[in-house]
Amino acid sequence: MRLRLVKDDLNLDYFKRATIWLGISGVLVVIALISFFMQGLNYGIDFRGGTTIRTETSTPVDVGEYRSALDALGMGDVVISEVFDPSFRDDQNVAMVRIGAQDGEEAVSTEVIESAEAALAEVAPDIRFVSVESVGPKVSGELIQTASLAVALAIGAVLIYIWLRFEWQFAVGAVVALVHDVALTIGIFSELQIKFDLAIIAALLTIVGYSLNDTVVVFDRVRENLIKYKSKDLKEVLNMSINETMSRTIMTSLTTLIALIALFVLGGDVIRGFVFAMIWGVFVGTYSSIFVASTFLVKLGVKRDWTKPDEPGPAGTQFGDVDA
């Protein structure tokens, strides 16, 4: 007996409430943007400069004690939090200490790290500093720029690729969906104040890749069906294509989710934020390829009459059938 998650003859209309779906997405994006501009992101030291120290002790962490030890040093913005993870041993008590960038310092200052470590060792004699990371403000500013550029470049590059392989309407639909995914991911990081560091940028780009993967598979089928059913309405062709590929969409999303959830639960706290971003991305990416990308395609319309002389090739540009 085979596991079938989607009926063979699935026949849903995805555009009956297109306006509602687009509306919901629009509202969510707006909320995400408001959250981003109002409370901003909880940037890690990669992007704001400063120092994080990960400590381990065999005795329980007393955050208050750590705080008073560090406050005495007058280092300005200091955040201390205890870290919990199921993979920790019983006598493994972990805390993260974040010290903001010191005023007027371009580079990393060793004294800050050393005095903080000394102060912590006073209150917790068996403390070990399992990782110490420090980023100067000069670099962190550049990292933000590079990261934003990377995301923009990735979106631009796929816009061009899809434009070459399909039609500009497809490219616009796909890119709107991508921007939607990226905005919602940034939004949830801002809303939940999860630490946003360089690895999250990698996750964002992966989401871009994943969401696109989904969108492209649907679009590929649309392209094929547009040729096959020349007289059918675009909306009908899109519905048909989405229904036909639904089984695959669910299968792939599920296998990816299974793998990611395993990593989320078992992979340790160091990459949990990163994995969370990707899990979130699989959800929004899958949703957006149907309800954003395809809906946009319906709204934009695709040129169907290929007998006009100014357009080469059927249902695709001259690059459309390179590998097909």
Binding site: G136, N213, T252, L263, F274
Partner: protein, 556 residues
């Protein structure tokens, strides 16, 4: 019809076998690592029995490439340093002064008295005031310009190394852009080389020392205790100079007089020396330095200058017998002996209050050469080995669970075809490790996430194909035709979907650094191997099965 040429079959199997062979050393990680270290040691001349035994742990005919573990998995230190180029410009200017003084003084009648505004070297300018005859500026510029040298570089053809101009009664000498460019490149190469040598002297495994951008150096050393320790190894500039002593001072804020500077003594608290700012000889002209003992049996360092350094040193000592002379290391006076006699041959000895360890270290630093400029550390990270090990354990566990879950899920969904896809998935991950080992890529924690993600997404190509076969089966063309059509029609979706993901992986690789780059590498390789295994390997498996069984109907 379903068929694949025999040569193609062999090629596919061959590729798989090569991939597996390349991946195999990773299963015996520590054994192969010991073997590799031993091989390197033997090549380096340490042909001991212990090394021979270690080498024998792994047969030489098998591939021995390993996936390197990144700092976040192995533990170690990471530094991003910026080279202070102004230092170099400054010392260039300081070195130019004696020359300028010589040519201007030779024409004293015309130029009159001159005074060096030595504070301006901090801005990379050599400023000389024409005190008595400011009108002689043109002549002075002419004289100084005669000292210029053409710039030796590809882009700087036709330009000179510095420019002289008049600013009021001051003659201003600055480096040209072309010369600065050439100097920057030279300085970076020198710094990289010196840092590399210093780290090699300590002998850690596989350090990464890379230039980043115009003036930055990335240094990653696995297995080292902390970034502070690493900074101690490379951070000491070991800038050695020999400077004439003008006098002594009791505190650092005394006015040293034009062209002089005040430096503290290394070991005597409260003792300061007034020195001439332009050195007679610098450590750059050293050819050798060894720890040794002086005639009283105290640890000291002997050194040897090259030809020109030895000549300058000889001339100076001959002319200044009876005067004190300072040996300065990193702006601290190690000692200021009185010159007893002419020191010919360019050899000498530095005595001071050293321990044996200190004299050995000093000799190492001097031998490796001085860093041409100071370093600012913009980023430093230390990851302890325990955290790395925890991450590896967690990553392994997660990968195994993810793997098992996906295998079961595929089996439940596609039955026999699921088995084919699962075989492909296992081969896929193995080949991915093979590729990573082949190019000696670095596996980071996000890289492990990349592998897990690939496990999840790799089945996508097979899912696309199987779903397509299901659809084609509905139109009842017979199993063989359905399989063939399934592959054919799913291909364009597979190609498009994977190329777009690949594009993002490439961008991530180009723009990213460190762990993020590690993620991009595994993601990118994962795409390549998953497309290969899905399109070629599962197809071959299905074809072989189909030829044997010749089923009338199939269920996917």
């Amino acid at each position: 019809m379903l068929q694949i040429d025999a040569w193609k079959r062999w090629l596919i199997w061959l590729t798989v076998v090569v991939g597996l062979l390349l991946a195999m050393p990773n299963l015996f990680y520590s054994r192969v690592e010991t073997h590799n270290d031993a091989v390197k040691a033997i090549e380096g001349g340490a042909d001991t029995t212990a090394n021979r035994e270690a080498e024998a742990l792994w047969p030489g005919f098998l591939p021995s490439g390993l996936v390197n573990l990144g700092l976040d998995l192995r533990g170690g230190a990471h530094l991003l340093a910026e080279v202070r180029m102004e230092d170099v410009y400054k010392s260039r200017m300081e070195a130019l002064w004696p020359e300028v003084l010589r040519v201007l003084r030779a024409e004293r009648d015309e130029i009159g008295t001159i005074r060096w505004n030595s504070a301006a070297v901090d801005q990379g300018e050599l400023r000389v005031r024409l005190v008595s005859q400011p009108d002689a500026m043109e002549r002075a510029i002419e004289l100084v310009n005669a000292l210029r040298q053409p710039v030796v570089s590809l882009t700087g053809q036709g330009s000179h190394d510095f420019e002289a101009r008049g600013d009021g009664d001051e003659l201003v000498i600055t480096l040209t852009e072309a010369e600065k460019q050439a100097t920057d490149d030279r300085t970076m190469q020198q710094s990289l080389e010196i840092i590399r040598r210093r780290i090699d002297e300590v002998g850690t495994r596989e350090p990464t020392i890379q230039r980043q951008g115009a003036d930055r150096i990335l240094i990653q050393v696995p297995g080292i205790g902390s970034a502070a320790e690493l900074k101690d190894i490379i951070g000491t500039t070991a800038q050695l100079t020999f400077q004439p002593v003008v006098g002594r001072a009791s505190n650092a804020n005394d006015a040293p007089g034009a062209g002089n500077e005040i430096l503290p003594s290394l070991d005597q608290e409260g003792v300061f020396y007034i020195l001439e700012q332009s050195p007679v000889v610098t450590g750059e002209e050293l050819t050798n330095a060894q720890p040794t003992f002086d005639q009283n049996g105290r640890p000291s360092v002997s050194f040897q200058f090259n030809g020109s350094g030895g000549r300058k040193f000889g001339e100076y000592t001959a002319a200044n017998i009876g005067s004190p002379f300072a040996i300065v290391l990193d702006d601290e006076v190690i000692s200021a002996p009185v010159i007893q006699s002419h020191i010919g041959g360019g050899a000498g000895i530095i005595t001071g209050d050293f321990t044996i360890e200190e004299s050995t270290n000093l000799a190492v630093l001097l031998r490796a050469g001085a860093l041409p400029a100071g370093l600012d550390f913009l980023e430093e990270r230390t990851i302890g080995p325990e955290l790395g090990q925890d991450s590896i354990d967690a990553g392994k566990m997660a990968t195994i669970v993810a793997f098992a879950a996906v295998l079961i899920f595929m089996l439940a969904s596609y039955g026999l075809f699921g088995v084919f896809a699962n075989i492909a998935l296992i081969l896929n991950v193995a080949m991915m490790f093979g590729l990573l080992s082949m190019i000696g890529a670095t596996l980071t924690l996000p890289g492990i996430a990349g592998i897990v993600l690939t496990v999840g997404m790799a089945v996508d190509a097979n899912v696309l194909i199987f779903e397509r076969i299901r659809e084609e089966l509905k139109t009842a063309k017979g199993p063989a035709r359905a399989i063939e059509l399934g592959y054919e029609k799913a291909l364009s979706a597979i190609v498009d979907a994977n190329i777009t993901t690949f594009i993002t992986a490439v961008i991530l690789y180009v723009m990213g650094s460190g762990p993020v780059r590690g993620f991009a590498v595994t993601l990118g390789f994962g795409i390549i191997t998953s497309v290969f295994t899905a399109i070629f390997v599962t197809r071959l498996l299905i074809v072989v099965w189909f030829e044997r069984r010749r089923p009338k109907t199939i269920e996917v």
